[in-house]
Amino acid sequence: MVAMMQNPLRPTSPLRLVDAPPEPSSTAPEATIRVENLSIVFDVPRGEVIAVDRVSLAVMPGEFVSLVGPSGCGKSTLLNAMAGLERPFEGEVMVAGKPMLAPRPDIGMVFQQPHLFPWKSVRRNIAHGPRALGKSKTEALRIADDLIEMIGLTKFASSYPHTLSGGMQQRVAIARALANQPRVLLMDEPFGALDAQTRAVMQDNLLELRDRINATIVFVTHDIDEAILLSDRVLIMSAGPGRILRDLSVGLPRPRSSAILTDPAYLALKRDCLDLIRTEGRKAFEQMEAVT
């Protein structure tokens, strides 16, 4: 099955999933995100867990890259390192040419849970970032109102988060992250907690949104459809310790719609990807069995 992955190119179809050309590591200063030989190790009662194992990758300005892999393979940890929430044990993470040692307001993050401030209305949640960065109240609220319009929640501007549905809350979380006009938007399974229908709508919204903001996006998901639909590139991670197994360019035309998800050629490619992930998932499971 892995052998089938050696050449996933299907010349018969306009839909192509191809191995990305190897990154020329010497001429890389133009990359927005550069991860160099990154390892992250956690101390746990029984010893150490290597969550990320010597990962290198680069994300170009304006690119949309997905990280896909079995759960526990270190996707969140890698993303947190890009966010400055996790320090490298070894190696380096550079965003816009500067090493990430702490969170920075030019990098926005959306988590699996919305994590909205429950004591703030939708409007004030979104205005939080600009206010924290020292913008005037009027200016911050103007930014918030523009974003509220963009996410289509004008009617709910003064509602409190707990009165909104999960999908609406996640839209507010995305708007809140965009309020600081981040250069990089990191998304950790942002639609993972939503039902299938809402998820599909959110994916369409994100595709539209992407053309209106010019942020570089790294998107973590375990849904291969979602990854291919949304991204320019899909990075497939191995079972823990997390390494990058494959780096695939998605040669699909944009703007995209979910119609591509039923194309036969696309399905064949997806099957290859799934086989790869499944093999990795089984490895992860066996590793866990061996530990316990």
């Binding site: 993050m109 988590f111 401030f117 703030k120 707990h162 600081n180």
Partner: protein
């Protein structure tokens, strides 16, 4: 559900409201009858009418409002100082490991000692001054609020803190908004307990020696064998702490305004 069942339910509801409304008057009535029947010693168990007269005398003599304001002052100021300190230190120990290592062991040793046990040393330190009374109330209130805040701060959703970090929230705002409001539901529970503790320590403070106050008046009446006045004092104290608890419950419900 059938209409019959509904009616039965409301009938039962009305009955229990009626019985509830009669509970206190019935108790007072029975007490009056027993006290007047000479089954018991009327000096030790005066009827409610005697108690009422004693309370009216207390009010007319002008001492009542002096006693009330002295007690209210101790409870309120002690509560405010103790809870402010408890919240501030709770945020610090809950948030900063080093501050917690420094203070938590000490607080955990001091916390279980009943505040009343500090009366002798408070008298040695402060004599019969007002500062000593405040000290007891502050001491009683502080640890409960500190612990509630400390636990509340540690339970603040980590995701919320990370989200705030990613948005560039400054350190100060992180403590004064995200941490404090995140812990507020726990803090409010601590404050509610602190209300009753402040009354309980007030009793100890005034019994230890005072020149005015509701509990002080009870003690003086006891020395003069004015049982009616003693009971009137108890009723006043009960009413006062009841009103304080209920008002605080009402405030607390609105404190966590986003729920």
């Amino acid at each position: 559900m059938s209409t019959g069942g509904h009616n039965r339910a409301t009938t039962a509801g009305r009955l229990s409201v009626l019985v509830g409304a009669l509970s206190v008057p019935a108790f007072v009535g029975v007490w009056e009858l027993i006290a007047r029947s000479r089954i018991v010693n009327a000096v030790l168990f005066p009827p409610p009418s005697t108690v009422a007269v004693a309370v009216l005398d207390w009010i007319h003599s002008g001492q009542f409002f002096g006693d009330l304001s002295a007690s209210l002052f101790r409870v309120t100021v002690g509560f405010l100082i103790g809870t402010t300190g408890g919240i501030m230190l709770g945020v610090l120990t809950g948030r900063f490991r080093l501050v917690s290592s420094l203070l938590s062991p000490l607080f955990h040793i001091l916390r279980p000692i009943p505040p009343i046990a500090f009366v002798p040393i408070v008298i040695l330190w402060f004599g019969l001054s007002e500062a000593g009374k405040l000290f007891l109330v502050v001491w009683g209130v502080f640890f409960t609020v500190w612990l509630a805040t400390h636990i509340g701060v540690q339970k603040v959703d980590r995701g919320l803190i990370r989200a705030a970090l990613m948005l560039g929230t400054p350190r100060r705002q992180m403590l004064s908004e995200i941490i404090l409001l995140g812990a507020l539901p726990y803090i409010v529970v601590g404050l509610r307990t602190a209300v009753s503790i402040s009354f309980y320590t007030l009793v100890a403070a005034e019994l230890a020696g005072a020149f005015a106050g509701i509990v002080y008046r009870i003690e003086i009446a006891q020395q003069n064998m004015q049982t009616g006045q003693v009971m009137g004092g108890l009723a006043a104290l009960g009413l006062l702490s009841f009103v304080a608890d209920r008002s605080f419950a009402a405030i607390a419900e609105r404190a966590v305004w986003w729920r």
